[in-house]
Symmetry: C2
Subunit: 487 residues, 2 copies
């Protein structure tokens, strides 16, 4: 035999089968020019002996290499490196194949978008950062049963390709729900099922905005929506808010250069929780009609209203088809289910659905079918009713604890709904520093600066109460009081 030796030691412990390791090493040798086109290869028996492997392993490697065209077998003559390969570079001296590092990239690449990776909270942390439901109270068994029924009754059809707009049964159930509890004249045609409200906001923005066009946003607001708008090339225009919600009068000034859309959270303004006043609702709708602007209404937590009934959405008073309504099941059920929706005039829905087909083709029909059944059978509504009571008690417990432990530090209105409380700090109290110090005591909450458009500090706290039990909330507030920075 020749003196050629396989230049990669085989690794018995690797998940990569030996025949693949051999084939790759041989291909690499051919690529590097250590084995030239037309050169004979050792017989399978000889190579098996050299490598201490079974002959079948070598045969499998040769078969692989032949299928890839690296080598060819001439009956009775043996196996040879294919002559149809291009010239390859001569091997550099002492160049040994290395394990490949994936830490660099062989082409130009922009940096990632600004990241908001979820925090990996330490075990036992009391987390008030989110406006999320308490997943510990989810009826997991009910969900599991709904999925099982979807697989069983919906069967194989749910696992095939489908249209981009969402399962008709879920759209029908959502339309019914929106008509009966939110005063919206929704039809299955005017609904697009999306991947959560984030997916809805992204698709709406893509449908509306050409790069450079302007979207007005609340100057204290929801950053992930802003990121979606920016990512499609929108210029954002911050509009101040006050105790009645977005300052519609300021919108009129800002609109002189043209505003493609206004993004707002009229029900419980994010993050301040105030409800947009009726006067402003009317003015806003009239302004949008006159300006030819769309209103993107994010009604993320409609069902959670504790004092009186929820205020009906802006979309319910829209007579001019200017409102694009964004909803989600993330708050009423669970964020991880990733089901949200757009309700809008049909031309907008068609446009957003065509973009959806390009972005990720279609939704998960098994999940959509299962959720339709949960809506039809009232399971979701039952869960909401139960949670509304739970969250109201938690809100009250938080309010009581704050009044007891921090009477002079915070000023707030009791939120009429939602899952969070917004509190202004007493003069001189540094909200960011407080939040930082509280983390060391195992309590996590957000401060106002995390919601300002310009990133400037804002002396307020946002306390999410829905995810913690009353005892946990009381303990959290006790620790907050201890963590409070002294001047």
């Amino acid at each position: 035999m020749r003196t050629w030796e396989l230049s990669v030691p085989l690794d018995e412990a690797s998940p990569t089968p030996l025949f693949v390791q051999i084939a790759r090493a041989l291909a690499e040798d051919i690529r590097r020019g250590r084995l030239k086109p037309g050169a004979p290869l050792p017989g399978s028996r000889a190579l098996a002996t050299t490598l201490h492997v079974h002959r079948n392993t070598v045969l499998a490697a040769y078969q692989e290499l032949e299928a890839q065209g690296w080598i060819s077998t001439a009956p009775a003559r043996g196996t040879f490196v294919s002559t149809a390969l291009p010239d390859v570079e001569p091997p550099a001296r002492s160049e040994a194949p290395r394990a490949r590092s994936l830490d660099s990239v062989g082409f130009p690449l922009d940096p990632p978008l600004e990241s908001r990776e979820p925090v990996d909270f330490p075990r036992g942390a009391l987390v008030l950062t989110g406006g999320s439901p308490d997943v510990r109270l989810l009826p997991v068994e009910v969900l599991a049963r709904a999925w099982r029924r979807a697989f069983k009754l919906g069967g194989q059809r749910l696992l095939d390709y489908a249209g981009p707009q969402g399962h008709p049964r879920l759209r029908a159930a959502l339309a019914h729900m929106l008509a009966s509890v939110r005063g919206l004249a929704a039809t299955p045609d005017s609904l697009l099922v999306t991947r959560g409200s984030q997916g809805a906001l992204y698709l709406a923005a893509r449908a509306l905005v050409r790069p450079g066009e302007r979207i007005a946003v609340e100057a204290l607001g929801y950053r992930p929506a802003w990121e979606a708008f920016r990512s499609v090339g929108a210029q954002l225009v911050p509009i101040p808010i006050d105790g009645e919600g977005i300052r519609v009068d300021r919108l009129e000034t800002a609109a002189r250069q043209g505003i493609r859309a206004v993004y707002l959270t009229p029900h419980h303004q994010y993050p301040t929780t105030v409800t947009l006043s009726p006067a402003r609702r009317l003015t806003l709708l009239a302004w949008a009609r006159a300006a030819g602007s769309a209103l993107i209404e994010d009604d993320y937590d409609h069902e959670f209203h504790y004092d009186g009934r929820p205020v009906l959405p802006l979309a319910s008073a829209d007579r001019d088809n200017v409102v694009i309504y964004v909803g989600t099941l993330s708050k009423v059920l669970a964020p991880g289910l990733r089901v949200g929706f757009l309700f809008a005039p049909i031309p907008l829905i068609r446009c957003a659905a065509s973009i959806r087909a390009v972005v990720d083709r279609q939704g998960d029909l098994v999940a959509e079918y299962a959720l339709a059944e949960l809506l039809e059978e009232g399971e979701l509504q039952r869960h909401v009713r139960k949670m509304r009571g739970v969250y109201r008690s938690r809100r009250d417990a938080l309010v009581e604890a704050l009044r007891k432990e921090l009477p002079d530090a915070l000023e707030f209105s009791i939120p009429a709904g939602g899952m969070t409380l917004w509190a202004r700090c007493a003069p001189g109290l540094d909200a960011a520093a407080w939040s930082e110090r509280a983390r060391d005591m195992g309590v996590w909450f957000s401060h106002g600066g995390q919601y300002t458009f310009d990133g400037q500090p804002f002396s307020a706290l946002r306390l999410g109460f829905a995810g913690l039990k009353e005892t946990e909330l009381r303990e959290a507030v006790r620790r907050m009081a201890r963590a409070r920075p002294r001047r």
Copy 2:
């Protein structure tokens, strides 16, 4: 009582509760100026009598309107239209509220993207249009069990917010699978779980391309990928293909103006099914390194290779971190599960994950957890092995039927893998007309013109054999023979 009358007749049959109907009608009357700010409203008892509803219904409507700020109640004095409303227009004569039409839109809007809604095939149709698996053979019970276990074992944590990259357990299982059967040195860090391969292609394109930059594509190829690239502003450059795959020599010419990426299907070229030759693979990798271009390798049906072993991906020979590898579970399991992935150098994965966070925040962790378990337990691999045998027999049945029924009409090579057969038509045979006539006989297949970059006719057929039983394939080919256009 005053002469004011509620201007909307109540609809007992509507899904909208009566109190909501009343509240909306009153609000509408206020909006239209029929009820002026400060005007007194009828007492609840009187209005209930007038409207023939229970008094509680009127009270609920008033509560709703008060919560919304339309009206206010003065103890002992009664209920009044709020005086904090803006001036509203005088009512137009005989303007009655109408059911709202959602067919128009109150702001400028671009038309939808070119649509590819899935066809609703007539019942009993023999469908050879797709390269899809046979969903009738899916182990639905195995899937249902995996989801049930995910809900049970994964529990509430899977239903919460999470990072955008995909469940670590699924990424680990995919990395192991890619290392052991596809020769890829994948790690969980170098993988991004996506919504099918469409989601992977969209995110890769968004990460790579700035508007106006160029992506080279195969001139006969996969239109949904082109649509994704175009939607992010890419200019597409078609590169001819031949019996060895994409013409790399032509790429070099086209690249004079700069090519950001090449999108290709090296394993089974879409739609011609040829495998990219080893010589071209080497040249292409060397070219990409020199040009600083990315190679987007779409390996959509790696496992389905029938003669010999699958050729290892281009990515397995990539020493310069230029390949972005796109995979999917749509073919090995089911399209409707919407799970695909990107394997690429880590900076690209980080960038694509940051875009994913904006597009739809995160994946469906329940599905990801369930699929991880199916991979770990070898269920998916068992299903693939079984299907490989089934599809091979179907391929052979199709080949035999075509040779028997259409010996002089088509010219084809037996596809070594994949789920489709590509056949050139004999001279003078109009593929599009044939496909059209076959539909009338209940047989659906695609013709070459559906895959050409310029939309020009191309005299070939694409026959998907994986989704039909052997008897169905034979019947389909018999009908094809009858539908064949005569000159």
